[in-house]
């Protein structure tokens, strides 16, 4: 089982966002970090994989099967996409919205197992105390944790997280990344996380995808991609990598 994309071309009007780009097979159980500067096309690539945008050309294959041949409902079920933002002032509790993801939009009855699944997901995510809170009252970081919880409770084959920790404090950033990585490994599912923080990418990802100006520029293990001169070129900074105090890979960027 693997996820592949070939010759993806997406344009909105005259503006081309993805230029004939693609990536080689992403393996199950692995976490891939999609890195690249602002407006490089990360969210567009995610939406294209999720089937929310129809590409002008190109295919996304899951297990060798062209995803565009799947019915929308099936496709949205096997690919779970967590958008970057959600703002809602609905009178719904955190428990309600996670339950909604657990039910996958089907069946009126909520079984005891459903309730336990939601409760333990909230507990594990460390947001059990927010269960009865209204989603409109959450802070940006709390909303993001709820969003991750909603995504992870679903049983999909591919998980796409669009900057799942942009609003989180240090501890929660590490928690969320750790939880996503563990979930992917345990379930044997394919995970892609769009990240701005290259150090988080270096520490948690098994694999990196570098995107710049609508093209996938490099793909491979973090040590290899982060050492590539393309990184410096894409981000327009000088990059040096070094081993951190615990032997982890650290990325240092300089504006020269």
């Amino acid at each position: 089982m693997s996820l592949t994309a070939t010759n993806i071309n997406v344009s909105f009007g005259t503006r081309t966002v993805l230029h004939d780009t693609g990536f080689a097979a992403l393996k199950p159980g692995q976490l891939t970090a999609l890195i690249g500067p602002n407006a490089a096309g990360k969210s567009t690539l995610f939406r294209t994989i999720a089937g929310l945008i129809k590409p002008n050309a190109g295919q996304v294959y899951l297990e060798g099967k062209d995803l565009s041949t799947l019915p929308t409902q099936r496709r949205l079920k096997s690919i779970c996409f967590m958008p970057q933002f959600f703002t809602a002032n609905a009178a719904l509790s955190v428990f309600d919205v996670v339950l909604m993801a657990q039910k996958q939009l089907a069946g009126w009855r909520v079984s005891k197992d459903d309730m336990i699944a939601v409760a333990s997901a909230l507990d594990r995510a460390g947001i059990g105390h927010l269960a009865d809170a209204n989603i409109g009252e959450l802070s940006g970081g709390q909303a993001q944790m709820v969003s991750v919880c909603q995504a992870l409770i679903r049983r999909s084959v591919v998980y796409l997280f669009d900057e799942p920790n942009s609003a989180l404090d240090l501890r929660h950033q590490l928690d969320v990344m750790g939880r996503i990585k563990t979930a992917m490994r345990k379930r044997g599912t394919i995970g892609i996380v769009a990240l701005h923080d290259l150090n988080l990418a270096a520490r948690y990802a098994d694999h990196l995808l570098l995107i710049g100006a609508g093209k996938i520029l490099a793909q491979g293990p973090p040590e290899q991609v982060l050492a590539d001169p393309l990184i410096a070129q894409t981000y327009d900074v000088a990059v040096q990598t070094a081993a951190g105090p615990r032997k982890e890979l650290n990325v240092h960027a300089y504006v020269d």
């Binding site: 959600f86 909604m100 939009l105 939601v118 269960a131 009865d132 989603i135």
Partner: protein, 358 residues
């Protein structure tokens, strides 16, 4: 992070227990609303010129053989159709308002504020004054048919408008109000050239009245509700998901544009039928869902039935009030709902602004 185990720990049990408690509370509120509705229907039947006692009404309904012919006529032919019509139309408007607010993501949306009611009134006026039928072969139902056709066209126009780039939910309400004024102006134009008899019929539309209720209309409402309501119920999770934003809903597997289109069609059907039978009744579709939102929240499994019940309760209460304010006079219900609705509308706007300030 805690390890996953099959035996739920204390924290999980507490969370499940809390959710259970909230679910039971919701069910209890629904049952209470149903009980209250039964009571208002009975009071509605009791209220009127020939006063009937509580026991009279119960015996005529449940044991007609023992009642006098006069009582039977009053209850079965006059009062009961009106009382049931109030409940059904209220439920239809409540559901229509609830789902409009959901799919347009706008707390101020309802069949009246978005101009559907005035479009329906204009359609009916076209039939009454010009004898034009927009639906060929509508026969005796051509007034209702016209009302429905125009309500439908208006909601399609609104739907088209939501698809335009850069249209905010706030702008939607303005377009709706523009529709309202447009149709009111067109209606005035028709009234200007109408005969006295036609004018009286048009005024019925503008003020709203339950007086023309009949068993046939009650049956039609039941049929429409039993077509639309199960569909809305089956889309409960999708509609709940839509409240998290369009993209979030799509990422959860909701086909957003298809859902919007089908729900809008259902809402138009409900609103158009309701309005074509009782005329333009303001604010029931707005206030009902807001009461439901406050009491049971927006999980559609509770929100949808409670919006229907809240709408039904308001209309049933209005029907009582229309007869009870001045004995012997039946006031138009549209007037009463507006008088109750406007203070609510204003408090809603004020409370919204307060939240943005905080």
């Amino acid at each position: 992070m805690t390890a996953t185990t099959d035996i739920p720990d204390d924290a999980v049990t507490t969370l499940v227990g809390n959710y259970r408690k909230r679910t039971y509370r919701r069910i209890l509120m629904l049952l209470a609303a149903i009980a209250l509705l039964c009571l208002t229907v009975l009071i509605d039947i009791m209220t009127g010129p020939a006063s009937l006692s509580f026991t009279d009404v119960l015996s005529v309904i449940f044991d007609p053989s023992g009642a006098s012919a006069q009582q039977k006529v009053i209850v079965w032919d006059l009062r009961l159709p009106i009382a049931l019509m109030a409940v059904l139309v209220g439920a239809m408007l409540g559901v229509a308002g609830a789902e409009m607010q959901t799919i347009l993501n706008n707390p101020l949306a309802d069949p009246f504020t978005l101009g559907l009611s005035s479009a329906a009134s204009f359609g009916a006026a076209l039939a009454i004054v010009m004898q034009w039928s927009l639906i060929p072969g509508a026969g005796a139902f051509f007034v209702t048919g016209n009302a429905f056709a125009l309500a439908m066209i208006t909601s399609l126009a609104l739907y088209g408008f939501t698809r335009l780039r850069g249209v905010t939910p706030e702008a939607m309400i303005l377009v709706g109000i523009a529709m309202l004024f447009t149709f009111n102006a067109l209606l005035a134009l028709l009234q200007y050239g109408a005969s006295e008899l036609q004018l009286a019929q048009i005024i019925f539309w503008q003020l709203g009245s339950l007086a023309r209720a009949s068993w046939g209309k009650v049956l039609t409402c039941v049929i429409v509700l039993s077509i639309v309501l199960p569909y809305f119920m089956s889309r409960s999770w999708a509609l709940t998901a839509l409240r998290m934003g369009e993209e979030k809903a799509a990422s959860l597997g909701v086909n957003v544009s298809f859902l919007r289109l089908t729900v809008l069609a259902g809402v138009s059907l409900l609103a158009a039928v309701a309005v074509s039978f009782v005329g333009a009744v303001a604010f029931v579709g707005l206030v009902g869902p807001h009461i439901a939102r406050i009491i049971v929240g927006e999980d559609q499994r509770g929100f949808l039935p409670f919006s229907a019940l809240a709408g039904a309760l308001i209309m049933s209460g209005t029907s009582i009030a229309s007869k009870a304010i001045t004995p012997g006079v039946i006031y138009p219900i549209g007037m009463i709902t507006s008088l109750i609705g406007i203070p609510f509308f204003i408090s809603l706007i004020l409370s919204q602004r307060q939240r943005h300030w905080q």
